[in-house]
Amino acid sequence: MSPTWVYAVTGDLDFAVPDDLEGIGGARVREVHEGRLLAAASSVDAGAFNEESLQRRLADPGELEAMARAHHHVIGTVAEAGTVLPLRLGTVYREDGGVRAMLAERQPEFAATLGWLAGRAECGVKVWASPAALAGSGRAENRAPGGGGGGGGGGAAYLSRRRDELAARDQASRRTAETAAAIHEELASLAVAGRQHRPQDAPAAGPGSAQARDMMVLNGSYLVPVAGLEEFSAGARAAVAGLAGFRLDVTGPWPPYSFADGPTDGPTDGPTGGEE
């Protein structure tokens, strides 16, 4: 018996998986029906998808990318046909019966979340700060070295200067965090809801680029009515345009991965929910 990999749930019972839709490992994707819900699922090889071998696969960047892209491909295909509730990567059942039991058990909750997500999509906004913005626009540098003193006055002066520099840096990073939080709040107010992911630590650009040392300060996701995606995108750009040293990248639209837990209690939600 082959285990069943589950991609997503939808309440669109008319949804028919396209014949050529391939999932994990190139397997044909099929529908699993239960009540008023339908899951997009496919069979995976039992030997390759027990807990131990799945861990091994996930530890291989190539395998992880292939699985992530296959998972996303199926979810995106279902999402283009109707409202979708994505499941986290790696949700595997021993058999279809387990999938049906899960659908039956979670039916009210899934139906409510699907209703909330209907007609909406996720928009990603990443905001970077330049080194100058992160350092407080050179304020520390302008203040610290006294022009008058001959040679700095030894150890005590050095320590005091150093302490000032560190305090200035602290203050700058606090200001940057406050700016990022304010941007998130503003974007969430333009959206139905907002969630924050951990900022990515990858370099923002290639080593040769002027933006290579920029740091991501906000990795947000926003739930937006489909008809308002462009308006939101423009609003996001306008919100950051006036901030010296900050720039943004808008990604998506995405199926509502970051909002699969419904209106409340999001796993990556900050203290400000951004509910309408």
């Binding site: 996930l58 994505p86 499941l87 986290r88 996720e122 630590d201 650009a205 996701s221």
Partner: protein, 83 residues
């Protein structure tokens, strides 16, 4: 009203039901995708043989892996133009 593939909304008029969304596929950056498929989505416990969130060890190694994937990305130039 289709815009460039740099993350701006790409929407297609659907003949019957007003606006439909086209979700980008291949051009999606892996880091952005991993943020969502590993940290988003419904987490289900039950008759699940394996769900990543249920296995703390996997979670830990995934975090390390995602960092290493991100580190690798600096070796390859970004596919999307910075806006």
């Amino acid at each position: 009203m289709t815009l460039a593939a740099d993350g701006k909304p790409d929407m297609t008029e659907a003949a019957d039901s007003g606006l439909a969304v086209r979700y980008p596929q291949q051009q999606v950056a892996l880091v952005d995708l991993l943020d969502r498929v590993l940290a988003g989505g419904v987490v289900i416990a039950g008759d699940v043989t394996l769900s990543i969130a249920d296995v703390p060890l996997v979670h830990v190694s995934l975090r390390a892996l995602v960092m290493s994937v991100r580190a690798q990305m600096c070796a390859t130039p970004p596919t999307r133009p910075a806006s």
